[in-house]
Amino acid sequence: MTGATVFLHGAGQVSMAILLAGMFLLLWRLSKGPNAADRVVAMDLLSVLVVTFLVILSIHTRETSYLDVAIAYACIAFLGTIALARFIQKGTRNKQSRPDLRQKSDPLYENLLDKRRSHD
């Protein structure tokens, strides 16, 4: 083993340890986070850290197929974040928490509801 290989091996282990420390910090925020939006933020960064970890693993083991796993994971994590964000927004549409920001209901939808009610 040459010096360069030893250096790369050590750098890989150090950076994986750093990433794991970051993941544990994020898990703390994920379990504690005062509200749902904070949890979504923590999940978002957690997925970025997992992608980074996979890429480092790909360098460390010299196995390039981990890069494809990272691509797939990045795509799916993005979809997951978007779905969660939409979910938070939908869940609070009719809440009284902030009446000045509440959305007005759609007149077309109200019309439909009225028709249904009269139909019954």
Binding site: A4, T5, F7, L8, G10, A11, G12, V14, S15, M16, I18, L19, A21, G22, M23, L25, L26, W28, R29, N35, A36, A37, D38, V40, V41, A42, D44, L45, V48, L49, V51, T52, V55, I56, S58, I59, T64, L67, D68, A70, I71, A74, C75, F78, T81, I82, A85, R86, I88, Q89, G91, T92, K95, S97, R98, D100, L101, R102, Q103, K104
Partner: protein, 109 residues
């Protein structure tokens, strides 16, 4: 030589990721936390992917690494925007040190 470059970029990138995680722990409210995630997280991941591209010098790997970087650069702002919008609309309190809340007047009614 390329090993040293790869190792340094890798450690630097993961340090940026750690800084992003620390930002999520330490910053006062959702919007500032999200700001840490978007900038430091993307930069850290981008550096590590760049290190990977330098290490395996093949065309296919270059293309895939470039794709990951572009994917991160495009998805991070979109996701951050959606989370910010959702959190503001659901009435998440801003930090006590906030001076200006411009959305309060224009209001997403």
């Amino acid at each position: 030589m390329i090993e040293y470059l790869t190792g340094i970029l890798m450690v630097l990138g993961s340090l940026f990721c750690l800084v992003a995680a620390l930002g999520v722990i330490r910053l006062p409210d959702t919007l500032t936390r999200m700001h840490a995630v978007t900038k430091a997280g993307t930069l850290g991941a981008g550096l590590v992917v760049l290190a990977h591209a330098f290490f395996h010098q093949q065309t296919g790997i270059f293309l895939r690494a470039g794709f990951i970087i572009v994917l991160l650069l495009f998805t991070a702002p979109v996701a951050a925007h959606l989370i910010a919008r959702a959190s503001y609309r659901s009435g998440v309190p801003l930090s006590g040190r906030t001076r200006v809340d411009e959305l309060k007047k224009t209001a997403l009614k």
